[in-house]
């Protein structure tokens, strides 16, 4: 029930943003040297001259059939643009999340177990700076050093100019190339996705290490850990099973939140690395004041975020049996 309300809220807010904010999207979109007629024509196209309620109804009707308007800049339907560009963003964010989780959780555990050791201090530096580093600047620095100076990684894009992408099954290059056994393309896609993923995952990695470490420390102090030790259960099992499963419960929420930030971060990272996804699409639309695509992108990203939070809620049930009966 709550989901439906939030969904409706998302749709409504996205709708209202353009129409209620000060300023006139049509005028802004038309540009500084547009004539009055051009602005009027745009207002007509955006439907801004109709009463708000009618606009809302039209908007909802449009959503149902998948009509999100048209981009002035690309001259395509927004929905088509989004469908074309979404897989790239999906691949980047999922891969980044994967990196953040796969590195972050073990590091958090190790920091908790070897508290105040050298690893812990190093990780603390990483997590404090991770949240302060501007992602776009980190991206530029990595490009500067690793790509431009040392030529270890490419500067941008999803694949080299001369390479052909793998057959479009999922449209996620890494997976498609694996499925079709095309190792060369797989390796190359990995090289291209690596830097942007590292940058995008960095703040999330910092957060996850920090939160997981704190949660593990708290759980390791709990009574049932003493009990398990009293029964002779090995330290390894205690840390990796008994403690970790309990610590993951609060960590999971943090991961969900961080994913949301990551989705937002794509607008920066995709710009720096010329990654052809919906983040870059939104940025270019914003610069052109092309307001329909921005709304469409906002809606899509909001939906993704909702979905991820839903998955995490379900995951809670798997992690914590006490929740299942509510």
């Amino acid at each position: 029930m709550l989901i439906v309300i939030t969904l409706f809220g998302l749709i409504t807010i996205t709708f209202l943003v353009a129409r209620v904010a000060p300023g006139d999207p049509a005028r802004v979109a038309a540009g500084p040297d547009a004539t009055a007629e051009m602005v009027q024509a745009l207002r007509q196209e955006f439907g801004l001259n109709k009463p708000l309620v009618v606009q809302y109804a039209d908007y909802l009707k449009g959503l149902v059939v998948g009509n999100l308007g048209r981009s002035i800049r690309t001259q395509h339907y927004v929905i088509k643009d989004l469908v074309r560009l979404f897989p790239a963003t999906l691949e980047l964010t999922v891969f980044s999340l994967f990196l953040a989780v796969v590195l972050g959780i073990p590091l958090g555990v190790l920091c908790a177990v070897y508290r105040d050791g050298p690893l812990d201090h190093l990780a603390r530096i990483v997590s404090v700076s991770g949240l302060a580093l501007p992602m776009f600047w980190l991206g530029l620095m990595l490009q500067l050093i690793l790509a431009l100076k040392f030529d270890l990684f490419p500067v941008g894009g999803r694949l080299g100019m001369l390479s052909l992408p793998p057959p479009a099954i999922t449209r996620l290059y890494l997976i498609d190339s694996l499925i079709t056994g095309n190792w060369a393309v797989f390796a190359e896609s990995l090289k291209y996705i690596f830097l942007p993923a590292v940058v995008l995952s960095f703040p999330a990695l910092a957060s996850i290490i920090r939160v997981n470490r704190a949660d593990m420390l708290e759980v390791l102090n709990r009574d049932f850990i003493t009990s398990a030790r009293a029964h002779g259960i090995s330290k390894f099992r205690i840390v990796t099973q008994y403690a970790l499963k309990n610590a993951m419960i609060p960590t999971a929420t943090m991961i969900g939140l961080r994913f949301g930030w990551m989705l937002g971060g794509t607008i920066l990272v995709e710009t720096v690395f010329d990654w052809p996804g919906i983040g870059q699409y939104a940025v270019q639309s914003a610069i052109f004041s092309d307001f329909q695509p921005i709304m469409g992108t906002t809606l899509v990203i909001g939906l993704c975020f909702m979905l991820v939070n839903l998955i995490i809620d379900l995951l809670y049930g798997l992690l914590d049996p006490r929740v299942r009966y509510d």
Partner: protein, 308 residues
């Protein structure tokens, strides 16, 4: 002569003394907090960075070596020179001293950060207290709306708002304020709920204290510590977000020396003229780091239960 014994010495009734007595426990707590804060080197570092930031922002325009390079001037003869003794951070493609512009950018960032946080608090705190204290139907509505706002990742939401309003520094501040206020509602509502349950509030209610008095005298002071902690962390995050928008090109516009916008311009000159993009970024990093460390330190002394 009989020496009459003097009576007990009259107590000094100076206002200062009386104030000190009344607030004795607060002063004691303050001293303890300062002592604890001083024990953490990272927190001190944060405080120092933030202090430097404020000082540079305020007196910056008075001390920069090339004040005319703030906007507008062009010295093509000295364009794109590397860092040396005259131009500590080098010059940009219009021959302007980057060090000067970074310093001047400090004031801009301060302005942006403060305005965003103040507006966000101004909207969020009253709504949060209302939702928490009054509760019921209006409280539910406020919280649901807050949830809806929070369901859209902040950066995209800000971008969408700017997309509708058009680029510019003012618009980006408005957009970010709209993105930020829901966080305060949640924080303050939660805190209000727990303070409401405390016995001293019940006691106040039972002697018939008016709602407004309870809110201002009991609830608000108990919320200030968490608000301060959040505000100091948010200051850094807001500056970061604004710089991000500047980088994309929808925030402050050139020739304003905003750090994000400078990095965006400098991007075109990598790798050979690397200083252009590097130094403004370092400025952002240092500033945000300072606020984060300060916020962490404040949280440790003001709100120990949420210590990480």
């Amino acid at each position: 002569m009989i020496d009459r014994p003097k009576g007990p010495r009259p107590q000094p009734t100076g206002l200062w003394i009386r104030w000190k007595e009344e607030h004795e426990s607060t002063l004691r707590n303050l001293r303890l907090s300062i002592y604890l804060f001083g024990k953490s080197p990272l927190s001190i570092l944060g405080l120092v960075i933030v202090a430097v930031f404020f000082i540079v922002a305020l007196i910056g325009p008075l001390i920069v070596p090339f004040p005319q390079d703030a906007t507008g001037t062009v010295h093509l003869s000295q364009k794109l020179m590397g860092p040396d003794s005259t131009f500590w951070f080098g010059t940009d493609d219009l021959g302007r001293d980057i060090f000067t512009r970074v310093i001047l950018g400090t004031w801009i960032s301060l302005k942006i950060g403060l305005i965003i946080i103040l507006i966000a608090m101004g909207i969020g705190v009253p709504l949060g207290i209302t939702a928490g204290y009054v509760g019921g139907w209006p409280g539910e509505v406020i919280m649901r709306v807050t949830d809806m706002f929070l369901s859209i990742p902040g950066r995209i939401f800000a971008l969408a708002i700017i997309g509708a309003m058009g680029p510019g520094m003012t618009n980006s501040m408005i957009a970010l304020s709209i993105v930020w206020w829901p966080g305060y509602v949640r924080l303050v509502q939660g805190r209000t709920l727990s303070v409401k349950e405390e016995s001293f509030v019940e006691a106040a209610r039972s002697v018939g204290a008016r709602r407004a008095r309870i809110i201002f005298h009991h609830i608000l002071p108990n919320c200030t510590s968490v608000i301060i902690v959040k505000a100091s962390m948010d200051m850094g995050m807001a500056i970061l977000a604004a710089a991000g928008l500047g980088f994309i090109g929808v925030g402050a516009q050139p020739p304003t020396p905003e750090w994000g916008a400078m990095i965006s311009e400098g991007r075109n000159f990598l790798p050979n003229w690397w200083w252009y993009a590097t130094f403004p970024g370092l400025a952002i990093f240092t500033t945000v780091l300072g606020f984060n460390l300060l916020g962490d330190g404040l949280r440790d002394i003001l709100d120990p239960q949420s210590r990480s």
